[in-house]
């Protein structure tokens, strides 16, 4: 019964809690039946939903974890990565839209990769936060490594500014595989 109340009142905790081990889940605050104010909801989103790795990255360096050593950090992040049944190379045409639809000037509310990376050379509205991904296939990277980078960049580079898109559920495993194909398939526009 108690469990149900907690689940209801803190539906917002959803995904993040689901990703955490049971020991941490138990720390979730006891829910009272009262309605939460907007400010309380906001604070839950900001602090209660913050996972321990985000916490470790919330120091003024922003890019070096505090309190967890780098190897443990990477190992824990790697353990969160889930793979699609059909392998890490999906359908590049679907991946193109998730990466950023060239017919919409590269916009995409899902991957939104162009915010930080250049890709398809015909899309010029691209950010310079991450490295350019033009001609990515020629770099000889392992598609599995690319998959991990997109699913959970912190498995390779703790506290990276690149969001952990698969880990948070912004992109599903199959969708990430489609993006990996977009990056690695020689016939994809990013490699033209």
């Amino acid at each position: 019964m108690k469990k149900i109340v907690i689940a209801g009142a803190f539906a917002g905790l959803g995904l993040l809690v689901a990703c955490q081990p049971a020991a941490q889940r138990a720390e979730a605050p006891k829910a009272e039946k009262k309605k939460l104010s907007a400010e309380e909801k906001f604070k839950i989103a900001l602090f209660k939903n913050q996972d321990k790795w985000q916490k470790a990255c919330s120091n003024p360096t922003q890019l070096v974890p505090e309190g967890i050593d780098i190897d443990t950090f990477k190992k824990e992040m790697l353990a969160t990565v889930k793979y699609p049944e059909g392998g890490v190379m999906g359908d590049w045409k679907k991946g193109e839209k998730l990466f950023g639809d060239p017919r919409k000037q590269g916009k995409s509310l899902r991957g939104n990769c162009y915010a930080c990376h250049c890709g398809d050379p015909t899309v010029i509205a691209c950010g310079n936060i991450g490295p350019s991904l033009r001609g990515y296939a020629k770099r000889g990277k392992d598609p599995k490594e690319t998959y991990i980078r997109i699913y959970n960049s912190w498995a390779q580079n703790p506290c990276s500014v690149m969001p952990r898109l698969g880990y948070h559920g912004v992109l599903k495993p199959q969708e990430i595989a489609d993006i990996v194909a977009f990056l690695h398939d020689p016939s994809s526009p990013i490699n033209k």
Binding site: G12, A38, L46, S58, Q62, I129, C159, H168
Partner: protein
Amino acid sequence: MRKKIIFASAIAGGVVLTAAVAQQLPDQYKQLLELGMHPGYAYLDEGEDYFHNLKGPNGKTCASCHGQDASKLVGAYAHMPRYYKDIGKVADIDIRMLSCMTKYMGFPKSKDFIKKYTKKYRVPLATYVASKSNGMKIDVKLDDPQEKELYKYGEKLWWTRSGARDFSCGICHTVLSDKRIRQQALPNPVRDKLYKHWPTYRYSNDKMWTMEDRVRSCFKAFLLYVNKWDKKKDWIKKPPPYSKEVVAIELYMKHKGNGAIINVPGFIR
């Protein structure tokens, strides 16, 4: 619409533009500014009008307490946010003015009035009152224990990485400042003491904004949503207006801006 018509009022101080803004500025704005017309001054004029003519239910106006032409508010904005004894907490300009209206002018503390204040009176009045500190240095003191505590909280919030993008204010505005997110250059409000031009007119959405609006929007647009991805349901709402979190971040940024010369209304993308 009214704003557009009345902004013909002349500007005194002129507009200081950063090179980046000057470069991207659409032609119609360049011409306006060359003619000495700054759209933010429509808000300032509107605020001046409210200051003298908006009567509370008890007959008082802002000018009843703060003098004609806000003579007793010269320099006040330079020290905000700060602790106010009469309301017992640290307030930014948005909260301070609302408290004056409900406490001293007889306006009700009702949802309806707060909504009206937020939408209608707040930004013009803040622009007008802030402009009374033009030419002065930002000078936020952290004398009161509540101010010290809130400053620390603001600093913590600045670095708090959270939400489904793993972002924080500091990621975009300290670590990545001067990079481009898509086409948009990321400003560095702390290093560059950008608080000096707030409240500011944003020509990209044709509106005057106070720092409350800016902080809340940055949170909403970039930082947080909860639960599984669902673009309609799961973007968390902004922190509510007048909340402690917003004031804390303002206090942090403005204290970092100490010494910069206030020049309001600003003008940015």
